[in-house]
C-alpha cells in the first residue's frame, strides 16, 4: 500500500478544517471592530454574513438532495 499524500490523511484534513474554523471565527470577531455603513438594518446584526452564508449553503445542499429524488434519472434516460 502506497503512503497516502499529506493532504489525504484524515488527521491533516481535520487539522486544516480546524485552522479554517479559527480564521472564520476571527473574521466574525472583526465584526465588532470594523465600522459598517450598511444599507439594510439586518446588515448590522452581529455575524449576519457568516450566518447567512453557512445557512444558505447547508440549505442549498439539503434542498438539492431532495431535488435529486425528484429529477434524477439513469444516465441513458434520453438515449432511447
Amino acid at each position: 500500500m502506497k503512503e497516502k499524500a499529506w493532504i489525504e490523511k484524515r488527521r491533516n484534513v481535520v487539522l486544516m478544517v480546524r485552522i479554517f474554523l479559527a480564521v472564520s471565527i476571527a473574521l466574525l470577531l472583526l465584526d465588532l471592530v470594523i465600522h459598517r455603513h450598511e444599507l439594510f438594518s439586518w446588515e448590522t446584526w452581529f455575524g449576519f454574513y457568516g450566518f447567512y452564508g453557512f445557512v444558505a449553503c447547508v440549505g442549498l445542499v439539503l434542498a438539492a438532495k431532495v431535488l435529486r429524488k425528484l429529477i434524477m434519472r439513469r444516465e441513458d434516460y434520453y438515449d432511447h
Partner: protein, 563 residues
C-alpha cells in the same frame, strides 16, 4: 475616407484565409486575426461609423460608442486567449467556425440597426453549432441539432420583431426599445432565448457540454454575452428583468450541486452569472448597468479560465464526470493552480476579478431598495462559491484519488490559462483598468473594509458549510445520472408526443390500406365470379345446349310476336 475596417470583416476575411491555409500555418493565422483586429479596434474607437444604403434604408454596420467598444475589446481578447488555447488543434472545421462565430458576435455588438443585428445573430447560430458537431460523437450531433433549432428560432423571433418595429416606426435603429409593443416583446424574447432565460435555458446546458474542449470556451464567451449586450442596449431598466435575472441566478445552483458532468456544472454556473447581469440591466441605474457589463467582461475571463481547466482535464484524461475524476492535483498541479484562480474569481474573493464587478450589481439592488432580490442574490453568491468555487476544483483535482495518472496539458493550453489567470488577478487588484473602459463613469469603490470583511465572512462560512457537510457525509455524492430539466419537454414529452402521433398515423395508414385491400378484394372476387374464367359468362357450353337455348329464345320471340 475610411480610416478603419469593420471589426467583423477582419474576422470573416481571416476565416476565409484560414480555410484555405495549410495545416502548419493555420494556428498562427488564427492568432493573427484577433491581434490585427485589436489594432484596427484602436481606429474604430477613434469614431468612424460606417453606413451603407440598402434600398430605402441605411444600414449602420459599425456604430462605435463606449458600450459597443467594451464588448469589442472583450471579444478580441477572448478570441486571442482561446485561440492560444486551441493552437494544438488540427481541425479546419473548428478553426474556421470559431473565427466566423467571433466575427458574428462582433458584427452584433457593433451593429447600429436591427437588420445588421439579425444577420450577425443568425451567423453566430449557424457557425457556433460546428463547435459542438466538431466533437464528432452521436450525442454531440443530436445536441447540436437541438441547439441549432432553438438558436434559429431566436433569430426568427428577432426578424419578426425587427420587421414589425420597422413597419410601425419606420426606424431601423438598434436602440432603446422597451416591451411596450408587440415588436418589443418579440425582440425581448429573442434576446431572452439567447440569454438563457429560465425555461428557455436548456439549450445551453444541453449542448455546451457536448462541444469540444476549446469549443465550449468559445461558446461560453460569445452567445450569452451578445444577448446581455442586446438587453443592455434595448431594454435597460425593464423591471421584469430584475425578477427574471434573480430566477436565473437562483435555480441553476441547485442543479449545479447535483450535476456530475463538471463542464455542465459550469454551464449552469454560466446561467447563474448571467442572472446577475440581467438583474443589473433590469435595475437600469448607471451603477447597475456598469456592474452588469463589467461582470460580463469578467465572466468571459474567469468562466473561460475554469472551462479551459476542465477542458484540459477532458483533453488529458478523456473524462469529465466528477464521479470518475479526483486526485489530479498530483499530476496536473499547474492546471490545478489556474483552476483555483478561476474559482476564486467567480466566487468574488477580494483581489480577484469577480469581487470588483458583481458587488456593483448587489450595491445597486440595495440602493434601489430591492431587498428581497438582494437577499436572493446573496444566497446565489454563496451558492456560486459552493458549486463553482469549491465543487469544481475539489471533485476534479482533490476528493478521492481516482487513480488516474496523467500529465499537464500542452504548453499552449497552459499559456492560455496562465494569461487568463493573470488577467483575473490584474483586474481584481487594479479594478480601475476595467472601470476606465466602462460605458458610464464609475464612482463605486470596491475595496472598503466592510465590503472586504463581509464578503470574506460570507465565503469562509460557506466553505465551512461545505467542509462540515463533507466530513459528516451529508454531501450528495457525485453520481452518473441525468437530471430532468426544461429540455425534458422536447426531448421526452415532445418526442413521445411525436412518436405517438407517428404511430397513430401509421395505424391510420394501415387501416386505410387494409380497407382498400378488403374492398378491392371483394370487387375482384365479384368481378371474377361474373367475368372471370370460371364465371357464368365465360362458361363453355356444349353445342346441343346452345342449340336448345337458341330454340328457346326463338320460341320466346315467336310468342312475343303473336301477342
Amino acid at each position: 475616407m475610411i480610416t478603419s475596417l469593420p471589426p467583423f470583416l477582419i474576422f470573416f476575411a481571416g476565416a476565409l484565409v484560414v480555410a484555405f491555409a495549410p495545416n502548419r500555418l493555420r494556428p498562427t493565422l488564427t492568432l493573427l486575426v484577433p491581434l490585427f483586429g485589436g489594432w484596427n479596434l484602436w481606429y474604430v474607437a477613434a469614431g468612424s461609423d460606417l453606413t451603407v444604403a440598402l434600398f430605402d434604408y441605411r444600414l449602420e454596420l459599425v456604430r462605435s460608442d463606449k458600450l459597443s467598444l467594451l464588448f469589442g475589446i472583450l471579444f478580441h481578447l477572448a478570441t486571442f486567449l482561446i485561440s492560444i488555447y486551441a493552437v494544438h488543434i488540427r481541425d479546419r472545421l473548428q478553426q474556421v467556425s470559431s473565427l466566423v462565430y467571433a466575427g458574428g458576435a462582433l458584427g452584433a455588438v457593433f451593429a447600429g440597426d436591427l437588420i445588421t443585428l439579425f444577420v450577425a445573430w443568425e451567423l453566430m447560430a449557424v457557425s457556433s453549432v460546428f463547435l459542438i458537431w466538431a466533437r464528432r460523437t452521436p450525442r454531440a450531433s443530436s445536441a447540436g441539432l437541438r441547439y441549432l433549432a432553438i438558436q434559429i428560432s431566436s433569430g426568427l423571433l428577432l426578424l419578426a420583431g425587427a420587421l414589425l418595429h420597422i413597419s410601425e416606426t419606420g426606424s431601423l435603429a438598434f436602440g432603446p426599445l422597451g416591451v411596450g409593443s408587440l415588436a418589443g416583446v418579440l425582440i425581448f424574447t429573442a434576446f431572452g432565448i439567447k440569454c438563457a432565460f429560465p425555461l428557455v435555458h436548456s439549450w445551453l446546458t444541453d449542448a455546451y457540454p457536448e462541444a469540444t474542449p476549446s469549443g465550449m470556451v468559445f461558446l461560453s464567451a460569445f452567445t450569452t454575452k451578445v444577448a446581455v449586450y442586446g438587453l443592455a442596449r434595448s431594454f435597460a431598466g425593464t423591471e421584469a428583468l430584475i425578477y427574471i435575472g434573480t430566477a436565473m441566478a437562483m435555480f441553476p445552483i441547485f442543479y449545479a450541486v447535483i450535476e456530475n458532468d463538471l463542464r455542465r456544472v459550469l454551464a449552469f454556473s454560466l446561467i447563474n452569472q448571467v442572472g446577475f447581469m440581467v438583474v443589473g440591466i433590469g435595475i437600469g441605474s448607471e451603477l447597475a448597468l456598469n456592474g452588469a457589463v463589467s461582470h460580463a467582461f469578467n465572466d468571459v475571463l474567469f468562466k473561460g479560465l475554469l472551462l479551459m481547466a476542465m477542458g484540459a482535464v477532458l483533453h488529458q484524461t478523456g473524462k469529465i464526470n466528477g464521479s470518475e475524476l479526483g486526485g489530479l492535483y498530483k499530476t496536473m498541479p499547474i492546471t490545478t493552480g489556474f483552476c483555483i484562480v478561476g474559482a476564486a474569481s467567480i466566487s468574488a474573493f477580494p483581489l480577484f476579478s469577480g469581487f470588483v464587478s458583481k458587488s456593483m450589481v448587489m450595491a445597486a439592488a440595495a440602493q434601489e431598495g430591492y431587498w428581497i432580490v438582494w437577499l436572493l442574490l446573496l444566497f446565489a453568491s454563496a451558492g456560486v462559491f459552493h458549486h463553482a468555487g469549491i465543487k469544481i476544483p475539489y471533485f476534479a483535482f482533490f476528493a478521492h484519488d481516482s487513480g488516474i495518472r496523467t500529465r499537464e496539458p500542452p504548453a499552449n493550453m497552459l499559456i492560455a490559462m496562465g494569461l487568463g489567470a493573470a488577467l483575473c488577478i490584474l483586474i481584481g487588484v487594479y479594478p480601475s483598468l476595467l472601470y476606465g473602459i466602462l460605458p458610464w463613469e464609475v464612482h463605486y469603490i470596491p475595496y472598503t473594509a466592510d465590503h472586504v470583511l463581509t464578503q470574506l465572512q460570507l465565503l469562509f462560512f460557506s466553505a465551512l458549510a461545505f467542509a462540515w457537510l463533507n466530513l459528516a457525509g451529508l454531501y450528495p455524492p457525485e453520481l452518473p445520472s441525468v437530471n430532468l430539466d426544461a429540455d425534458w419537454l422536447y426531448r421526452r414529452l415532445g418526442l413521445r408526443g411525436a412518436r405517438l402521433a407517428e404511430r397513430a398515423l401509421a395505424k391510420a395508414e394501415q387501416t386505410g390500406a387494409r380497407l382498400t385491400e378488403v374492398s378491392s378484394y371483394n370487387f375482384r372476387r365479384v368481378a371474377m365470379q361474373h367475368c372471370g374464367p370460371a364465371s357464368v359468362l365465360a362458361r363453355t357450353w356444349s353445342t346441343g345446349f346452345a342449340a336448345l337455348w337458341i330454340i328457346i329464345l326463338l320460341g320466346i320471340c315467336l310468342i312475343l310476336y303473336y301477342l
